[in-house]
Each structure stands twice: as structure tokens, then as C-alpha cells.
Amino acid sequence: MLYREVGDFKTSYKADGQTFPIAFDRYRYYAVLLIAFALVPFLLNDYWVKAIVLPFLIYSIAAIGLNILTGYCGQVSLGSGGFMAVGAYSCYKFMTGMDIWLPFGENGESIQYALPPLNIFFSVILGGFTTALVGILFGLPSLRIKGFYLAVATLAAQFFLVWLFNKWSWTYNYSASGQITAPERLLFGQAITGPSTEPWATYLFCLVFVVVLALVARNLTRGHLGRSWMAIRDMDIAAEIIGVNPMKAKLTAFAISSFYIGIAGALLFAVYLGAVEVGEVYGIQKSFLVLFMIIIGGLGSIFGSFAGAAFMVLLPVLLKNVLVGQLGWATDIAAHLEFAIVGALIIVFLIAEPHGLAQLWRVIKEKLRLWPFPH
């Protein structure tokens, strides 16, 4: 009787259509929010923030983004790493003061003009918007090709974008190392980026993004835009016949998904890592990491995105603590074993539970409705 909907009647369509129709779910959600905002910031230390909490929050955003595209709209993408790089590099340009060329010179020559460095908050958001534009561009092939072929096209985006940020020195402000390094930026007088940040400040900064973006994702996927995505995913011919414009549905999915992934990339660079080299951080392995998150977490589920991100972030930490810390194994053996375990888990999930952790959670909830009486 931990979980019940008996007696929880709805008398309006508004009440029936809300995000958490069951009262117990709703209160649990408020409780989680309260704890996350009011309690967790006081408990955090540097290790927890760096090793677990920040990566979990940031990858949750990326996983929600990819889930919108792959889980809700059915368009497979292997370009997440590249799109995260776009978010990171454009955020970097906005926060350091982007120099642009305007074609208004005396004799028709362009003049260089530097935008003032923007606030870190707006830099991250603008990074998201830039990525959305790039996402639309690389989403265009989806209008003609599907499935594996589309996956290959997005793979091309991945490699092209990494190559671009290696070669185009303007994007990393002509630094000798080719790296981008986040300078110290303040929000409300508190350092968010740079070497001297407080754990709670970076945590709250990311948490605000996560909460708002998750809510927006939930709203988008339950509205008519989300239905048109799912219609395209489930049966594109029937979707078109009832009035879904496939171009609009697919490109909005690419745009919004890339917006999320771009913001995740920007946060990963600016708040979490501080300095990145594109091939190392935003390579193909990052695309697969985010894809694994949504496969393990559950395609087409916002909760699944969180579950998958938590799983993929926690598993290596857990394995390292157990194998290296407790059993005293060599670090490299533990690292290799991690690959093997993740690979095996992907196969297990694809066979045993294609809908991922989110489906397991649903099954548990169904069981809990009747617990402890089986009938």
C-alpha cells in the first residue's frame, strides 16, 4: 500500500492531463525538488560534486536531449558529441567576447568588432541556441533517409564538427594549445566557472538548468508537438496522412534536441571540466555514452533519461570503489572491466528490457499498487 491511486478521482481534463496524475507521485516530486534545492547544497563536498553530482546533472540534460530526438521522434543520432562541442565552443566564444566581422567598412572591407563578454548564464543559453541551428542543418538529411543511414549521416556530423574545432583557430581564440579554458565568471557575485568555485554554487547553477529543461521537455512531449514526434516515430506514413508535416516534426525535434545537448556540452566545458580539448572530450565515445544512457534508461521517457544518466555516471565510480578500493585491483584492470560490464549490460538490456530502467520502474509501480496483497 505504499503506492496507490484508489480514491484519487479526477473531475477535469486539466487534472487528468497533469504531469503526475497520482497524488503520491506528485508529493514525491515536490519532496525531491525540496531536498535538491534546500538540503543537498549544504551536504555537498568537492568530491561528490566533481565525481557524481555534476556529471549526473549535465549528462541528464544531454540524455533528455537525445531522448527527444531518438526516443520520441525515432531519429537515431550518433552526433551528440559533436553537438556538445558546438555548445561548448559557442558558449566559450560568447563568454570571452566574440569577435565578429561586419561588412560595413569604408571601402567595402570588413571591420572587426568584438562583442562584450556575456554573462555565463546567457552564454550557456546562447550556446544552446547555436547548437540548435547546427542541429537543424545536420537534421536535413533526415527528411530523405531513415534508420541506419541517418545514423551514418549524423556520424559524419560528429567527425566533421570535431575536425572543425581542431582546425578553425578562431573558435578557440587562437590559443597555442588548441584548448579552450573557461575564465572565471560570476553570477550574483559567486564564481560559477574558473578555478575557485564553491561546490554548492556550481551544483545549483546546473540544477536550475536541469529542472527547467526537464519540465520543458515533459511539457513539449505531452503537447501536440510531442504527439507529432511520436507519430513520426511509430508510423511516419500514417502520421503524414493525419496532417503531421514530417519536415516540421523532424526539424523541430533536431533543433530542440540539439538545444539540450548544446547546453549540456556548454555546462560540461564551462562548469565541470573548465578546460577541454575537442577530440578528447567531445569525441565519438561521448556520442555513444549518451546513446547508452538513453538505451539503458529507456527510450521515450524523461525519467529514463535521468535513470540512464545516473546509471552510467555511478557505475564507473562504484566499480572503481569496489574493485580498486576494496579488492585492491590495479586501476587499469578495473577500467577495462568497466568496458566489459557496460557492453554486457547494453546487450542484456536490449534483449531483456528494450524499454530500459524506466520500464522496470513502471513494472515496480504496478506491483506496488497491489503490494502486499497479490490479488
Binding site: 513539449l220 503537447g223 493525419i242
Partner: protein, 280 residues
């Protein structure tokens, strides 16, 4: 050999009222000399017929006669090489299927084409997409128009759910429903768009007698209550002859008969096509 033109009801003919009191109006859709080819195969050969407002129009014919191709031409999947389609008094230019949906033409499929990952309610709500206009921002924050619109459209969807008697499966994923119910949900999805022309591709295929009776009742009710014009393909002759006002008969891509069920039943060419005839 009977001349086709002698079987046809003379056109144009006046609006009239049927025996059961339904009003049959003007021509809504007219196909003029449609020819559709796939490479060397001619699926439809120079076919002309019209669909009048408020009527139940059946397209029948043996397997491979080109009936489904005809429906696909109407709903915009196929673009005929020759011929014209007139809809509501205007010649229709080549259009994408989703644009045709916005003109008020809805359809169901021969093999159920529901969105399997979604619930019954969501499937039916998807049918209201063409009526939903709120922007991305309004939807993202679920304020203003997005929220209002969702509730308005939910009311429309619920009316169809009541009409088709599928309240009990409202929140069930459609993939797990039995076949007959899936067909009904698919009809609901087409119906909720409030189409002026509803195309049904074998709505009773694979159903048992009770399910067929239910479906026939729904089709007649739709026609009667909402005044929807219906064009349907069906193989069950009993059903077709019972529920339709006029019937087009196709064979090998050509039209071999057109008229009221009685006229078609007595047409020698139609009898030959269905029963076979010795070619000597």
C-alpha cells in the same frame, strides 16, 4: 456486352433525400479520367467517378483491381500521371498527404496503422493535430494557448471516445489491444479530425460477424450524425450492398460499373468479374 453508360445514374443529378431521410448533396469530389502507372504496370486506367456530399460511396472489385491505389490517389500518396481531381469545385494541384489532411480528408488503412507506442487517447488526440495551433514556447511552459487548446481538444476526443464506446481503453497502449478494437481506435483517429470526406480502406477486414455489425453501425452512425461523406473499400458484399448509397466497381484497373447497389448487382460485367466468365 453491356455498355457502362447505360448503368450509370445520369449525372449531374439533383440533391435528393434517401429513404432513411439523409440528405445527399452536391458533388464533393470528382475524379476525371485518372490514370496511374507504376513503371510498366497500369494500376488505374482512365477512371472517372464522383463522390457526393453526405453519401456512403463504396469502391469494390476483385483483388488487385486497383481499389487501394484509388484511395491512395485521393489521399495524396500517389500522384496520377493523367487525369484531374476536383475537390469542392476546385481542381486540386499535386499536394503532400499532410496538406490534403488539412483540407478535411481523413482515412484509415487496410493494415492497421496506429501509433503503437501511444495510448488510445493519445492516438485519438493526434487526429486533432491539424486543429492545434499553439507555438513551441507556449507548449514548453504549458501556459496560455497550449493548455487551453489541450483541454478543448480533449473534449472533442472524448466525444469520439464516447461515440465509439472505447472509454474503458482510453489509457491503454494501443499495441496491446485486440484487433477489432484497434480498428475502432483507428476509425476514431480519423473521425476526430472532423473530416468532410472519410476514406475507409477495408474497415471490416478480418473481423467476425459481431465486429462487422458493430463497425457497420458505427459507419452508418458517423454518416448520419456528423453528416460525413464516406468512401470505403470493402470485400464483404453483404455489408457493401447494405450500407452504401452508390457503388463503383473496378476490375483490372478499369471501371466496370457504377450505380446504386441494385444496379451494380444486376450488371452483367460485374457478375462476370466476380464469378468469372469463360473467354471464348
Amino acid at each position: 456486352m453491356t455498355d457502362v453508360s447505360t448503368i450509370d445514374i445520369p449525372t449531374p443529378y439533383q440533391p435528393y433525400t434517401t429513404e432513411d431521410g439523409r440528405k445527399i448533396g452536391d458533388v464533393v469530389m470528382e475524379m476525371k479520367n485518372i490514370t496511374l502507372r507504376f513503371g510498366g504496370v497500369t494500376a488505374i486506367k482512365d477512371i472517372s467517378f464522383d463522390i457526393r456530399e453526405g453519401e456512403v460511396r463504396a469502391i469494390i472489385g476483385p483483388n488487385g483491381a486497383g481499389k487501394s491505389s484509388m484511395l491512395n490517389v485521393i489521399s495524396g500518396f500517389y500522384h496520377p500521371q493523367e487525369g484531374e481531381i476536383w475537390y469542392r469545385g476546385e481542381k486540386r494541384p499535386p499536394m503532400k498527404p499532410y496538406e490534403i489532411a488539412r483540407q478535411g480528408i481523413a482515412r484509415t488503412f487496410q493494415n492497421i496503422a496506429l501509433f503503437k507506442g501511444m495510448t488510445t487517447l493519445d492516438n485519438i488526440m493526434t487526429g486533432r493535430l491539424t486543429h492545434m495551433k499553439s507555438g513551441i514556447l507556449a507548449q514548453a511552459f504549458w501556459k496560455g494557448r497550449a493548455e487551453r487548446e489541450e483541454i478543448e481538444q480533449r473534449e472533442k476526443a472524448e466525444r469520439i471516445i464516447d461515440f465509439l464506446e472505447i472509454q474503458a481503453i482510453r489509457k491503454a497502449p494501443v499495441g496491446s489491444l485486440p484487433y477489432g478494437l484497434q480498428k475502432r481506435v483507428e476509425l476514431g483517429r480519423a473521425l476526430v479530425a472532423e473530416p468532410s470526406l472519410l476514406l475507409l480502406d477495408e474497415p471490416m477486414a478480418g473481423m467476425n460477424v459481431e465486429e462487422k455489425e458493430d463497425m457497420s453501425r458505427f459507419i452508418l452512425d458517423v454518416n448520419d450524425e456528423f453528416g460525413t461523406t464516406i468512401a470505403l473499400i470493402e470485400h464483404d458484399m453483404g455489408v457493401v450492398m447494405d450500407i452504401s448509397d452508390r457503388v463503383v466497381v473496378m476490375d483490372y484497373g478499369a471501371k466496370i460499373g457504377d450505380g446504386t447497389p441494385d444496379e451494380v448487382r444486376n450488371n452483367q460485367q460485374v457478375i462476370d468479374a466476380y464469378l468469372g466468365v469463360s473467354h471464348d
